[in-house]
Symmetry: C2
Subunit: 357 residues, 2 copies
Amino acid sequence: MKKLINDPNAVVRESLEGMAIAHADLINVHYQPHFIYRADAPISGKVALISGGGSGHEPLHGGFVGLGMLDAACPGEVFTSPTPDQMLEAAKAVHGGAGVLNIVKNYSGDVMNFEMAAELANAEGIPTLNILIDDDVAVKDSLYTQGRRGVGTTVLAEKICGAAAEQGYSLQALADLCRKVNLNGRSMGMALTSCTVPAKGSPTFELGDREIEMGIGIHGEPGRQRLTLQSADDIAQRLAESILEDPPYTRTLREWNLDAGDWIEQELTNPPLRAGDSVLAFVNSMGGTPLSELYIIYRQLAKICQQHQIQIVRQLIGPYITSLEMQGCSITLLKLDEEMLKLWDAPVKTPAWRWGI
Amino acid sequence: MKKLINDPNAVVRESLEGMAIAHADLINVHYQPHFIYRADAPISGKVALISGGGSGHEPLHGGFVGLGMLDAACPGEVFTSPTPDQMLEAAKAVHGGAGVLNIVKNYSGDVMNFEMAAELANAEGIPTLNILIDDDVAVKDSLYTQGRRGVGTTVLAEKICGAAAEQGYSLQALADLCRKVNLNGRSMGMALTSCTVPAKGSPTFELGDREIEMGIGIHGEPGRQRLTLQSADDIAQRLAESILEDPPYTRTLREWNLDAGDWIEQELTNPPLRAGDSVLAFVNSMGGTPLSELYIIYRQLAKICQQHQIQIVRQLIGPYITSLEMQGCSITLLKLDEEMLKLWDAPVKTPAWRWGI
């Protein structure tokens, strides 16, 4: 294992220390339990937006803490869910009196722990809602998941909901917006190479010299199929078609109900993408794939969208939800309406992103 | 070779096509000869800033074309200098009547071709100056270079000089500023892994499972020494000390003299970094190293700077001058004065960077 690390078991802590020193103007880091939070938190009267999950996907989530995005991020160990006490302490640190929305990627550990944290926070008088992101069309159920996994749409939901929170959305309105973003987003990824979790020291999975994994998860969990190496155009085509041809996806999710003080189940359906839709097209590097290759993927994606009469009105191209040093990419298409578009364009200032300010 | 590409010989072209589609609001791409230029060029009365070099270092240089940075970038084939006709055509496309400054990384091919381009442009009535970047303390002379190589300071010079051009600096004032940035910047890099040029198809060099290359060049050219794998803290220490302990560096460079209409030689010396200096600290990924590891490097760099009473007043952490998918990092320390600091903070809007606007 060759990495720029010291102790394999201190990677998360030392990386957080580096972030804290580098971005002291934007964020603070609390240790034991670990969470990153806005330097100006709590912000009175603003709904606090929190996310989190296993480390190893940087800049997600900690790089997105700041004005116009998250109030706090809870990093677990690499590829391991954070714990309820992290989430609860983060909520207490950033709650500005208007409630807390947790954006939760759909992995069993994250869901369980964020649900426990929400129950504890509500019991302590912090109105808290959780919204799941489950946008990965590759597989239903996986090593880490019941239902579809949460991937690229998470990044977009954090930006769009962060802008809405900044503009004064109520807790319920913010939850409704986040659910809408999730229902309008679809993703699929692939890997050229594996990645190595520092504490383990060996690759998470093995791929042959001419093999690729289509539908890979962000922890290296298996996807749809293992194929012989394809051209970038063919890979883009497979990823894009999996998204574009994905039928309406219906599942039952549970959300906290503030009035009932309990979880309620609701059936939710993703509407399929249609000719005439406007989308944000997100081509993401899994970490080790250079930007130049992402543009080759984007070039083909743009052609395919045009063929399907889907108009790309915003794009995002780069390493934003990664799997350590894995080579590969994912595509996310998010159907945008006027509300989401305006919120996407709104100012942001975080360690990873800054625009409009 | 596993990459997200189609034809190994069409990588640069197809990547440019992807960029052109993705960023049509910011840039245009001209093909044969290839150059990327601002969508709003030429800008009347503004000095035009041009850079270029071999591809494979993205987002350098094309990702830095736009408001507050470059007017044009000339990409060569991967790790291969662009040609004088690219540079001349780019100059014609973006010249707004106030002259052209070429920022040239010190590699023999780039220097020769940018000098020829400057002579041609001056002969055609476009006042053109070239400033060299030669900031890599690792080695004097290398496979591709006479004198020190141009690396991380290039990114910083493009931002600082781009802001100055936007603010109306004259051609000579801009050249003086760029020379100052170069003399105040020092860099050193290292590699954990090699990289593969698509058209070659095999790794540029070989590194053993426990070997690292200290002082690596951005084309994988050899550095100072090959070592057994070290901890991140030891690597950061070696890189930082090479920079901090670098003595005054004196060499003779030639620059075009507009009055004489000829090249003149001048002796230039980098002042060493001293206690009390304010710096911009840039921790750069060679491409395949994840952000989390860069923060571990930055954590140690910040400690070392503090020990040397050098104050980090700005930081930059990410993959900005890369070597395809190479794993490793480089450190650049740029001594800042008030002028450079203000220009660093000025608005920028390019495919890779956007802030303040």
